[in-house]
């Protein structure tokens, strides 16, 4: 009887030790929540959420300091995915926030005076130029955050909605026309 108890206890100890060691040795490094939230956010870095960029907003969400419906570029889809990740109910975008179609900033090069204010405002360094030299936006890098529009002293920057072309065109969701039969 005693031998059996000892054997079982010994086995339990050994196996427990192995399991404990394995849980440390083969620990799977999981993405912290902030990274996961940040991966859903569109990285526009526009600050419309009230935070200076997507990462700070992600941090605020993970701490429960900010709501999930503060990101207009992400739109309803973004809110839905955040809700899914965090296990909460999706909700409409916050008040005063509005999802706009994706656009890029365009500088009217005839009006630009080369003040560099927009370059300093651009969160992703998508504007090329130097003092007293004409500036231009690299459209492939522009996130459409509109942060450069306000600082321009001569109002030479405007936003242009990106038009669909044959590459970015998407097959539409099949809509079935309901017709009267018989």
């Amino acid at each position: 009887m005693l031998a059996a108890v000892l054997v079982m206890a010994g086995l339990a100890l050994v196996l427990g030790g192995v399991l404990g060691w394995a849980s440390i040795r083969f620990r799977v490094e999981e993405d912290p929540l902030v990274e996961k939230i940040d991966a859903i956010l569109p990285q526009t870095q526009c600050g419309q959420c009230g935070f200076p960029g997507c990462k700070p907003y992600a941090e605020a969400i993970s701490k429960g300091e900010a709501d999930i419906n503060r990101c207009p570029p992400g739109g309803e889809e973004g809110v839905r995915r955040l809700a899914e990740l965090l296990g909460v109910e999706p909700k409409p975008l916050g008040e005063g926030l509005e999802h706009k179609p994706k656009s890029v900033a365009v500088i009217d090069e005839n009006l630009c005076i080369g003040c560099t204010l927009c370059i300093q405002a651009c969160p992703v360094d998508a504007i090329v130029g130097a003092a007293k030299q004409m500036h231009t936006v690299v459209p492939e890098l522009c996130t459409g955050c509109e942060l450069c529009v306000q600082p321009c002293p001569v109002d030479c920057i405007h936003m242009e909605v990106i038009k669909e072309d044959v590459v970015t065109w998407k097959w539409r969701y099949p809509v079935v026309s309901i017709r009267k039969t018989a």
């Binding site: 569109p42 990285q43 870095q45 996130t143 998407k170 097959w171 079935v176």
Partner: protein, 563 residues
């Protein structure tokens, strides 16, 4: 689910394999095979799209007003997956602008518009010395000459003709199956130009280092089979009749039928050592290599509800309206045009769009052959679609998830193995447009992938910007600190080193002297001023003096040791 068997006996007793699924739609092939291939008469105007292939569009290299010759490069390949675009005839470039193109979206795309001068002069065409050319140089030449797969996918041929560093491609298959109903351009090409096709295949075989060449032709084309077999007689090229089952002309399906090799999920036929080319591509390769002619024309089937359905050799860039007119024009009662066949084709939005490398058929619809589709009804999960699917997928599950926008799930049901052949929609008793759902899901997934890449790039750039700003701040602070400590150092040295102290004393004396000299100078232009002005100046001077005296003590508070 049917797999692998039962094998059927093909020509010369080759064992054939039966791929799962497939359907037997009515062929309607005889409609357009009654007349030989005819060359389209020269048109007054051509609209050449710069994006005629998969990958990056070509970049226009001609100016408006420039004269061009037939076969002259007007669009240079841009990026790796890209091929050149050439002028279809001689003439003058009148515009480089977005024009309607044959695309399911109906959107416009950049085109070069050429007004023909009627002379049709060609650039100097020289055959390629393909036997002696370096393989890589030959491939580059074919890239420039605009060769792309003419079976419908228009993938740049030069990439497919690269056997790779280690990859073995022992089998080359020429695809002459042409399983899509109505289309007969490959059929007619094989009947009329079999030996040229085989010459092209010979070059392909040389480039790939393939040991075996198989030509797969569906057995509903006995004339083409006979012509190809006759042309191949005496060579080791094997012409094989395969059973007529749609989509037997799919690259993976034909590979399986002929060799029994199954292409892995998400893989290519090259993964199992097989490369497949359309017979039309082989013919264009023949023209490129033996005649030195870039890809400027192709055979197009114009069929359906037209005056004289037939196959035409059409210059790329010919407006589709002209092509339809050349085949007798649309008959009364036409209800629209389809680019491609009824199973995989799409509706044309604008007949001013030009023929591109991808267009193998212009099918004019009428109410008789293309009645309006009945309204879809709910899926009853009968499983007919799964039995018909040649890729052995579960279309009803894919439909379910695509409909509910659960794109992750569609991918775990191998959405991207779907070849969009349309068999499932064809057999669906509820008339659900299944393929439309898969296309929707695929393009949503691609769009998200693009968005994700853009977001990753933006994140990276934003993080680098923050890092850069911080680095600049730090560097500035370091520079200032360094300057300050240098000044401290020089002061400390002065107290120790008598030479430095002497210099410092000299400097201080010189400054003092200059100050005194400055005090001695009086402005000369104030003497003649009236008394009130003099008083005002005196007041200002007094204020200056006062300011200077208040500023002086602040100097003594500064950390410089010489004060």
């Amino acid at each position: 689910m049917r797999t692998g068997n039962p094998p059927a006996a093909g020509a010369r007793g080759r064992r054939l394999y039966d791929f799962p699924g497939g359907v037997h739609p009515e062929g309607h092939k005889a409609v357009s095979t009654g007349r030989p291939i005819a060359a389209m008469p020269l048109l007054p105007r051509y609209v050449v799209a710069l994006r005629q292939h998969i990958g990056e569009p070509a970049r226009a290299v001609v100016q408006i007003g420039e004269r061009v010759l037939r076969g002259q490069l007007i669009g240079r390949p841009e990026g790796y997956v890209s091929v050149g675009v050439h002028a279809p005839t001689s003439g003058r470039v009148v515009a480089v602008e977005p024009r309607p193109v044959p695309h399911p979206s109906g959107l416009m795309d950049l085109c070069v518009v050429i007004d023909a001068d009627g002379e049709d002069r060609a650039v100097d065409l020289a055959p390629l010395d393909w036997h002696r050319m370096d393989p890589s140089a030959l491939r580059n030449r074919l890239r420039e000459m605009g060769l792309a797969g003419l079976g419908g996918a228009v993938f740049p041929s030069f990439i497919k003709l690269n056997p790779g560093a280690k990859r073995q491609i022992p089998i080359l298959i020429l695809n002459g199956a042409e399983c899509e109903p109505w289309i007969t351009c490959d059929d007619m090409l094989m009947r009329e130009r079999a030996s040229e096709i085989l010459l092209g295949a010979h070059v392909m075989r040389h480039m790939l280092g393939a040991e075996q060449v198989l030509v797969g032709i569906e057995d509903n084309k006995p004339e083409a089979l006979a012509c190809m077999a006759e042309a191949a007689a005496g060579s080791d090229v094997e012409v094989v009749g395969v059973p007529t089952v749609y989509p037997g002309g799919g690259g993976k399906q034909l590979t399986y039928t002929l060799t029994g090799r199954k292409t892995p999920s998400k893989g290519l036929t090259t993964d199992v050592g097989v490369q497949v080319f359309n017979v039309g591509t082989a013919y264009s390769l023949y023209r490129a290599v033996y005649l030195g002619e870039p890809l400027v024309s192709r055979v197009v089937t114009v069929t359906g509800h037209v005056g004289s359905p037939r196959n035409l050799e059409v210059r790329l860039g010919s407006p589709i309206s002209d092509v339809i007119r050349a085949a007798g024009g649309e008959l009364p009662g036409a209800t629209g045009e389809v680019i491609g066949g009824p199973m995989m084709g799409f509706d044309l939005h604008d007949t001013s769009a030009p023929i591109t490398k991808a267009v193998n058929c212009v099918l004019v619809r009428n109410a008789e052959h293309f009645p309006p589709k009945p309204a879809p009804m709910p899926c009853i999960r009968c499983g007919e679609c799964a039995r018909a699917c040649p890729a052995a997928l579960q279309p009803y599950e894919l439909y379910w998830y695509a409909r509910h926008r659960d794109f992750g799930k569609t991918q775990s049901y191998s959405l991207f193995d779907c070849i969009e052949c349309g068999c499932c929609s064809y057999v669906c008793p509820s008339h659900i447009p299944l393929v439309d759902y898969y296309r929707f899901a695929k393009s949503e997934i691609w769009a998200r992938e693009r968005e994700k890449q853009a977001a990753d790039l933006a994140r990276e750039r934003h993080e680098f910007r923050i890092f850069r700003l911080e680095r600049e701040k730090r560097e500035k602070a370091e520079k200032l600190a360094k300057k300050a400590s240098e000044r401290m150092d020089s002061g400390a040295v002065a107290t120790d080193d008598p030479e430095a102290a002497r210099k410092k004393a000299l400097l201080a004396a010189a400054i003092e002297k200059a100050k005194q000299a400055k005090a001695g100078i009086r402005p000369k232009n104030v003497d003649d001023l009236p008394a009130d002005k003099q008083r005002e100046i005196a007041a200002i001077e007094a204020r200056r003096q006062q300011l200077a005296s208040t500023a002086e003590p602040s100097d003594t508070r500064s950390p410089t040791p010489d004060s």
